[in-house]
């Protein structure tokens, strides 16, 4: 039988804990300097990782937490990033335990049925008491817990070490999709006329887009009110992916329009005749007043008189 080579044995014994001080110091130096060695250590940590399940838990003294808490602010939080919309609900989400996920799902479907029967404005306030009455530690601000739990599950189900990349596009995308969902017959919104109208009363507040997205999505949930937590994660995951695709499409549309506007403004002579503002408006049936033919504006940098 072959032998473990030196570095492999060093990595394995580093994880096992049998190295003496000198070897361990060497291993730690390697760990910082050699990525292959670090990966090897990680592999061994993964191999032995579950052995901790067999360790008897011991309750530590309460003062340890006090010590940690006192120093938390000193430690720079590496992965912190500004996230105005998502950060506040994030603190509420962890309280939601897997069982209470069902409660949230039930609340969503319940809210949807209420939505279809009652007026949209009434439904918006109706949806709030449902989760709280079930004893779930969910904040009372309407709609907030739902997007949060989605956020959390998303990062839970996806193998992303940096939730930053995960979470940042979401609010932006939902913000883009929300206003458009009123005018565009979005594929997800087809079966649900009521939730779309529910968006409107709230659309002045900044946190609306996420609830809007959920209100639209909720009907698909109603078919499976009591999903297992694991399945729920998958469902949500799939829904998030659909939303992400939708958001990307919408972003592209916005980008295209912005490009067209920029072209009109800065390169009017490069714009194909088809896309000229006047031509477009005529195609869309907008009657132009018989105004003098629009003069082409001089380019901004132009110094010449015409």
């Amino acid at each position: 039988m072959s032998e473990l080579d030196y570095t492999d044995a060093l990595a394995a014994e580093y994880v096992l804990g049998t190295l003496d001080l000198e070897e361990r110091t060497r291993a730690r130096t390697l760990l910082d300097a050699d990525q292959a060695f670090a990966a090897n250590v990680e592999l061994w940590e993964r191999r032995f990782g579950e052995l901790h399940l067999m360790v008897e838990p011991v309750e530590p003294e309460a003062k340890i937490w006090a010590r940690i808490k006192a120093k938390m602010s000193e430690v720079r939080h590496k992965t912190q990033f500004p996230e105005p919309d998502v950060a506040p609900p994030a603190s509420a989400a962890p309280a939601a335990e897997p069982p209470s996920l069902d409660a949230i799902e039930a609340a969503i479907s319940q809210a949807t049925t209420t939505l279809t029967s009652e007026t949209a404005a009434a439904a918006a306030t109706e949806a709030t008491p449902v989760p709280t009455s079930e004893g779930t530690p969910v904040p009372t601000s309407e709609g907030m817990p739902v997007p949060t739990s989605e956020e959390m599950q998303m990062s839970a189900s996806e193998a992303t070490p940096t939730p930053a990349s995960e979470a940042t596009p979401a609010p932006a995308s939902e913000a883009t999709s929300a206003p458009i969902s009123d005018t565009t017959p979005a594929p997800t919104a087809d079966a649900t006329p009521a939730p779309t109208s529910a968006v409107e009363p709230e659309s002045s507040t900044p946190v609306v887009p996420p609830p809007a997205a959920d209100a639209v999505e909720a009907p698909s949930e109603a078919r499976t009110p009591a999903v297992e937590p694991a399945t729920a994660v998958l469902v949500v995951h799939r829904r998030m992916r659909r939303w992400r695709v939708f958001a990307i499409l919408m972003t592209l549309v916005v980008a295209a329009v912005a490009a067209l506007l920029a072209a009109w403004r800065f390169l009017p002579d490069r714009v194909p005749p088809m896309l000229h503002p006047v031509e477009l408006m005529r195609q869309m049936g907008v009657a132009l007043p018989a105004a003098p033919a629009p003069r082409r504006p001089a380019p901004p940098g132009s110094q010449f008189d015409e």
Binding site: A12, G17, T18, R24, F48, L53, R67, S91
Partner: protein, 180 residues
């Protein structure tokens, strides 16, 4: 005991700088980490120092956790173990104002309730189970107590060279067993 899903949620919130989630994470995991650390250090004062260091590291590096590689608890335990072993190997600081409490030696691993057995743990235990009983004991003792080879050799009353060879053969066999 919290479920891995909950701990993953908490850890995800901690990456966003959520101090409340961090406190919950501590509450959900501190007894496990303390159990691991205390078994290695056998002194409450040292274990407390390691706990502080470990959780501050977790607070800072939560974003480095990769769910594809391990469970959140295993990741946290690995951080605490590394620090605890470093502490155990380093010069033991003299005790300050309080008397050090030396914990009774309790060498064997605890038992794990059947429902907590994960697939990974089952596979690992199967592979460890294929070793001869002496080598099983040696390996588990090494892992749980994080004894150096010299300490292990003294405990098991065998020459260090023999112990080293035996240990490495065990590691190799486990590696091959897990790969198969």
């Amino acid at each position: 005991m919290s479920t891995p899903v909950e701990i993953t949620w908490l850890l995800a919130a901690v990456t966003k700088g959520d101090a409340v989630a961090f406190e919950r994470l501590y509450g959900a995991t501190c007894d496990k980490l303390y159990g691991v650390v205390l078994r290695i250090l056998r002194r409450h004062d040292l274990a407390a120092d390691v706990m502080e260091e470990a959780y501050l590291k977790i607070w800072r590096d939560a974003g480095e956790f990769n769910p594809a590689h391990s469970t959140p608890l295993a990741w946290m335990v690995a951080i605490a173990r590394r620090l605890a072993i470093d502490m155990a190997r380093g010069p033991q600081p003299a005790t300050g104002d309080s008397e050090p409490e030396i914990i009774d030696e309790d060498e064997g691993p605890g038992s794990v309730p059947r429902h907590q057995l994960t697939d990974d743990l089952k596979r690992l235990l199967t592979c460890i189970g294929r070793l001869e009983p002496d080598r099983q004991r040696m390996l588990l003792l090494a892992y749980y107590g994080a004894f150096s080879r010299e300490q292990l050799a003294a405990k098991l009353d065998m020459p260090v060279d023999l112990l080293r060879a035996s240990l490495r053969r065990s590691l190799l066999e486990i590696e091959q067993c897990l790969k198969s």
